[in-house]
Structures are given as structure tokens and as C-alpha cells.
Amino acid sequence: MKSLEELAAIRDRMKGIVNMREADPNNIRVVVGMATCGIAAGARPVLNAFTEEVARRELNNVTVTQTGCIGICQYEPVVEVFQPGKEKVTYVKMTPEKVQRVIGEHLVGGTPVAEYTIGAAQR
């Protein structure tokens, strides 16, 4: 069974890195819509997938967080990616499977996955 001692070990690993993240000019923010509409559409597994994959790949310039209803409930789960100096990218109808590609191609590779974005969904 996991114990809180492991948390101390995580702390030691993260300590130096976290300060970097806050100050990092390239800090990427991933925001998952977690209002009732988002959760009903499956936002929680999406948030978890982002959190787990960001932790696994040790992407220390990425912050994963949530917001309320973005106002496009029909497209939930909605995920917005904010990157300094770049236009916001809005992904719609997200799933944990899609998260893998978004992280690999967008957060790491720098190229948004166009087919998952709201622009593609509205066409």
C-alpha cells in the first residue's frame, strides 16, 4: 500500500523543477473544462490522462488545471491549451486516447493536432 513517505520522495525530485515551471517563459497551460457538462461528457478521465501523461513524461513546463463551463457544452469535453506568444488552441470532444496525440504532437512537438480542434469540428 502506498504511504505518505513516497510523497516525500516525490517532493525531493520535484523541488528544483517546480520553481523552474513557475518562472518558465514557455510554461504551457492545459485547461480542462470541468463543469457539470464537461464531467458528464467524460472530462475527468481526460484530466487524469493529461495529468498522468505529463507526470510520466516529466514535462516540467506543463501545468494541468481545470475551469468551469466554457459555454460550448455540445463540444465537451473541451480542453484549451495556452502557450505564451501563441494563439489559444481549443480541442473538443476529447478522450483519453486523443490526449496521447495532443501531448506528443502539440505539447512536445509544437504542432497542434488540427483534426481535434474546434475549427475542424465546426466544418
Binding site: L4, L7, R11, M14, M34, R44, A55, V64, G71
Partner: protein
């Protein structure tokens, strides 16, 4: 269950310490879910109106379904919802459910709910307590904060650990709510 909706009300009310308690008493066939905060509280008139679906403090829309649905879910099992609140003191929402009742909604992914709350409001404190027939497990972010020494509760690696930690420690306790 929509515990997250109700707990988010606490966050919105400026609560700095929110306590979520799930108590399972199989002998009494009772499940109690309590969400207590130290936010700004409500006056008696507001308390009366908050379970009305057409009352909300939001300005973006005219319906607020968090508490009405929570009350419905409780009443459907023969339980009920009580709200105690004092302006400036905070609010306590307590829902009781009858265990084994056919209309009892599953508790759902409570660990996930609690972790999302903590991860997304890393500056606030939460106490999550599961009590099940005398056995107890408590997660207190104030203790976690002490261990973390400044590392944020929203750090993905920390959130992943906490989720697994919570799941392992509460799974067996929570299971009793469905074993009647």
C-alpha cells in the same frame, strides 16, 4: 454523485478549508455525505432558496442544479438534505442516503473528485474523511503541504501519487456502501 458540484460551491464561497466526509454505517443502513466549509455562508433566506433549481448566484445562467440534484438523490432513497449556514461562518451541507435502497446512486469516483478539487485549487485546504463502520481514513492537505515543503499540490506527479494513494486506502471502506 455530484459531490464535486457542491464542493465547488464552497470554493466559490471563498472557503479556505473544506471538509468532505463520507460515513457508511451498514448496521443503520445509512450513508452520510457531508461537505462543510468556512466560506462566506448564507443568510436564512438564501438557505431556503438554494435547493430551488431556479435559484443561483451565477450571473451567466438562471439555473443552478448542484444542490437540487443532491437533494433529489438523497430523498429518492428515503434520506434528505440539510443545510446549516451562518453568514461569515461557513456552510455545512449534509445529505443522508439509505444504503441498499434501489434508488441509491453509486458513489462514483470519489477519489477522482477529491483529487481534482485539490489539484485544481492547490492554494486551498481540503480534508477528506471516509468513515466506514468504525474504520477511518483521513486525507488532510494541511499535512500534505507540510510534507511537500512548498512543492505544489497541483504538480502532476503529486496528483498521480495522491490519486493512487486515496484509491488504495479508501476502496475497501467505500465498497461497503454497495454490499448490503
Amino acid at each position: 454523485m455530484n459531490v464535486l458540484d457542491v464542493a465547488e460551491n464552497s470554493v466559490a464561497a471563498g472557503s479556505t478549508l473544506t471538509c468532505i466526509t463520507v460515513a457508511i454505517d451498514t448496521a443503520a443502513h445509512r450513508l452520510t455525505v457531508t461537505i462543510a466549509d468556512n466560506g462566506r455562508g448564507m443568510d436564512a433566506q438564501t438557505v431556503q432558496r438554494v435547493t430551488d433549481p431556479f435559484y443561483t448566484t451565477r450571473t451567466t445562467r438562471k439555473v443552478g442544479l448542484g444542490l437540487p440534484l443532491f437533494r433529489e438523490a438523497a430523498e429518492a432513497t428515503g434520506g434528505g438534505l440539510t443545510i446549516r449556514s451562518q453568514p461569515g461562518q461557513g456552510t455545512t451541507v449534509e445529505a443522508t442516503f439509505t444504503l441498499g435502497h434501489i434508488d441509491l446512486a453509486p458513489l462514483g469516483d470519489l477519489s477522482g473528485t477529491v483529487i481534482s478539487l485539490i489539484q485544481c485549487n492547490p492554494q486551498l485546504d481540503f480534508v477528506y474523511r471516509v468513515w466506514s463502520d468504525g474504520e477511518e481514513f483521513t486525507l488532510d492537505t494541511r499535512e500534505l503541504r507540510e510534507i511537500l515543503e512548498g512543492v505544489s499540490l497541483s504538480t502532476p506527479q503529486v496528483a498521480v501519487f495522491l490519486r493512487q494513494y486515496l484509491q488504495e486506502h479508501t476502496e475497501n471502506l467505500l465498497k461497503r456502501s454497495t454490499q448490503i
